[in-house]
């Protein structure tokens, strides 16, 4: 053993079985957690895993849960999430999570078993065309037919998932390849033939950006998930840029936490359910500085009326995002941290100053928009308003140190994004691009695995949470004290809201009929169930939830008719927001066609 040590350092090939290579590659990549579910076509890998003590395998209850858990793990740590599932249904069940991770740029390495190579194409038991099915929902994927390619592919998989614009990758490994022996090479030997993500900014573009910023009279920073994906350094630099310029800043759903919500420059969320001030400032600005966001339709509203008078700078690591939706005046293709560092350096070196007087007037305008208090709501002493529930949850967890929030998808997600304020990146895990109901509970499992001592809360809806409810069992098995805070309004709330506004109040199949008793359900899983029905009992119940070191299902019964405001109706512009139901809100026929 000691004699061989020098050889390993020189990265000489070792002979291992395919299954052993998988485990060895995971260790060489620094993987400590693996989310998975065994099955026939991955048994050799599970056998190799049986002897591996330094990788924690988290057995989920459904492969979709494995992928979302890995997403939560990845988003909260900045490391890639790793998944191991079997062929056929194991792979197809992972597809929702893969698509979710692709849309939100989450680095995942998903290993799938495949039927033995001689059975591929014969409709064998639990066979499916995994690489064919996952091609459009991965950044890249591989079917490894030769065991001698396996270690290279595995290391390439980690490299591609985590560099450039991050995303999910799939490595499909036939069962016979897992049994065969071949040469294993370490990660250092990898040099990809074509893949060269561009991360360094073009210097001329940086200089131009700085000049545009110095000349701006009504600037706005519109930041996104790219800042978070770039790593903690990018968030620090973003703060420094705001220190330097005093520019107002808003963020997409994915970018929350990159800039502290407590700072005066923070204007809150942008877009369909963003604040009045953020959306009006986006509409009226003369310079939009888009940092790691992608002009999603939930942000832009009606594209032809989107910020019509502004020049736009767009920083993105993915060249295909520039000019995709909105034509911009200056595109910068680079890693966010690298570009921000350069912008700050050039700004300081050239001793730039902002347009102080103009900026003062701009802030005055922003302050009048803020006076609208667009997130206000009419509270009740009889019913728990969902906004009130989020406010109390936030207030009662502020002193709890590390708090991680995951969400499902719908009204509760938007209320959480509006009202649960973040000071740090990587604390907010939500399904933005794909809008996957059922994301939050398994994501919380993944977050808690990575941060065993932190407070992890899934802000949920009663409809979403039922989609992946079985992962409560996973939380129990691994002693994960996740808190599932269900805003139970007995409706698919966002569907109901749209049916009210767009479809004449015809609530077609959006009522959550035959709901389970969540308290009893919690007990059946062996965790704690709590219920709050009146505003005056909410605080005590939340405190009770926070005091137990066990998974909790919290059934918070809220006003079933409350709608999420403010809202930019479909097909409308940023300055056509609705603040409340009293605003009416005529939706154009074109708007009705939109999702």
């Amino acid at each position: 053993m000691d004699k061989d040590d020098t050889q390993t350092l020189e990265a000489a090939a070792e002979t291992l079985t395919g299954a052993q290579m998988v485990i060895r590659a995971l260790k060489d990549q620094g993987v400590t957690h693996l989310f998975g579910y065994p099955g026939g076509a991955v048994l050799p890998i599970y056998d190799a895993l049986f002897k591996a003590n330094d990788i924690t395998h988290v057995l989920v209850r459904h492969e979709q849960g494995a992928v979302h858990a890995a997403e939560g793990y990845a988003r909260s740590t900045g490391k890639p999430g790793v998944v191991l599932v079997t062929s056929g249904p194991g792979a197809t069940n992972a597809v929702t999570g893969l698509t979710d991770a692709l849309m939100d740029s989450i680095p995942l390495v998903v290993l799938t078993g495949q039927v033995p190579t001689h059975l591929i194409g014969t409709d064998a038991f639990q066979e499916c065309d995994t690489v064919g099915i996952t091609r459009p929902c991965t950044k890249h994927n591989w079917l490894v037919k030769n065991v001698n390619d396996l270690s290279r592919v595995l290391h390439e998989a980690f490299d591609i998932a985590t560099t450039g614009r991050p995303g999910p990758v799939v490595v499909d490994i036939p069962k016979d390849v897992q049994f065969q022996s071949g040469d294993y090479h370490g990660p250092q030997a990898i040099h990809h033939r074509t893949y060269r993500p561009k991360t360094d900014p073009d210097q001329a573009a940086i200089v131009k950006a700085v000049e545009m910023m110095a000349a701006a009279k009504r600037p706005i920073i519109y930041s996104g998930g790219g800042i978070i994906n770039s790593g903690p350094e990018a968030s620090k630099l973003l703060r420094e840029l705001v220190d330097l310029t005093g520019f107002p800043i808003t963020s997409t759903l994915m970018g929350l936490g990159a800039f502290p919500a407590s700072r005066p420059e923070w204007m809150g969320l942008v877009g369909m359910h963003g604040t009045w001030e953020a959306n009006h400032a986006m509409h009226d600005c003369d310079l939009m500085i888009c940092l790691g966001a992608r002009f999603d339709d939930r942000v832009t509203g009606k594209v032809s009326s989107f910020s019509p008078g502004s020049k736009k700078i767009h920083l993105d690591i993915d060249a295909s995002q520039i000019n995709k939706i909105v034509h911009v005046d200056l595109g910068i293709v680079a890693d966010a941290a690298k570009a921000l560092r350069e912008i700050i350096r050039v700004w300081k070196a050239q001793k730039h100053k902002v347009q102080t007087e103009a900026l003062k007037a701009w802030w005055k305008q922003i302050d009048t928009w803020r006076q609208k208090k667009s997130l206000s709501y009419r509270n009740s002493d009889r019913l728990i308003k969902p906004q009130y529930a989020i406010d109390r949850l936030y207030a009662l967890t502020r002193d709890k140190g590390e708090v991680y929030i995951t969400t499902e998808v719908g009204q509760h997600q938007m209320w959480a994004a509006q009202r649960f304020h973040f000071e740090e990146p990587n604390r907010w895990m939500t399904s933005g691009g794909l809008g996957t109901m059922g994301y939050g509970l398994p994501a919380a499992v993944g977050v808690q695995m990575a941060h065993p001592d932190a407070l992890v809360i899934d802000i949920a809806g009663e409809a979403s949470v039922q989609m992946t409810m079985q992962e409560m069992s996973t939380a129990m098995q691994y002693d994960l004290p996740i808190k599932i805070f269900i805003l139970n309004n007995e409706y698919m709330g966002m569907v109901r809201q749209w049916q009210e506004i767009l479809h004449g109040g015809r609530y077609s199949h959006s009522y959550s009929e035959a709901l389970p008793d969540f308290v009893k359900m919690a007990e059946a899983f062996g965790c704690i169930g709590l219920r709050a029905e009146r505003p005056d009992e909410l605080d005590d119940k939340i405190k009770q939830m926070l005091s137990v070191r066990k998974p909790v299902l919290f059934d918070c019964r809220v006003d079933p008719t409350e709608n999420c405001y403010p809202m930019i109706p479909s097909g409308a512009a940023h300055n056509e927001m609705l603040l409340s139901p009293d605003d009416g809100g005529e939706i154009s026929d074109a708007g009705k066609m939109l999702v």
């Binding site: 690489v131 091609r135 079917l143 033939r193 074509t194 008078g309 060249a319 295909s320 034509h327």
Partner: protein, 175 residues
């Protein structure tokens, strides 16, 4: 300010793109899937391995779209992991485009004589001849092949097989 901004044109243009890719399993499916998944057009597509030692394939695609869509197509193609290089012959570089077609014409008498005379004018070569038919081989720019096919139509056109466009740059440099 928006009044003075140069608005990108909304006119649909035809562009010829060449993509140099690693010839790995599924690479054509990635390219084709990109076009179908994002709703882009493919008017013709030609693919073959061009360097067996470095295992690279050359895919030439004729597509159409507004300038913004064409820019997206190029960027999306560059984003594919096995892509080495993307060149747009219609907007970036001077290139030569050629296509080959096999065209079957059947007929007798004057029409048959006329078909042969036209073929000669277009430098189309008969590669199969029977008493009742010809198969012509024609090479040229796609427009020339279109014209030849139009001329053959009243003279007994039976069927057409086209290779799609191959393109290469003028001058000593590679793409």
């Amino acid at each position: 300010m928006h009044d003075t901004k140069i608005k990108p044109s909304d006119e649909v243009e035809r562009h010829t793109l060449t993509v140099l890719v690693d010839n790995e399993a599924g690479v054509l499916a990635r390219v084709v899937g990109l076009f179908s998944g994002r709703g882009y057009n493919i008017e013709s597509l030609t693919v073959a391995e061009v360097d067996p030692i470095s295992r690279t394939s050359r895919i030439t695609i004729v597509t159409s779209g507004t300038p913004a869509v064409i820019e997206q197509i190029e960027n999306q193609l560059r984003r594919l992991v096995p892509t080495h290089k993307v060149t747009n012959w219609s907007s970036q570089k001077a290139g030569i485009e050629r296509e080959m077609a096999l065209i079957k014409v059947s007929g007798s008498g004057d029409k048959r004589v006329e078909a042969l005379r036209m073929a000669d004018a277009f430098r189309a070569r008969p590669v199969d001849t029977t008493h009742a038919s010809f198969v012509f081989e024609i090479t040229g720019a796609p427009g020339k092949i279109d014209s030849f096919i139009d001329l053959m139509r009243p003279l007994g056109l039976v069927e057409v097989s086209r290779t799609g466009v191959a393109a290469i740059s003028r001058g000593p440099e590679a793409m």
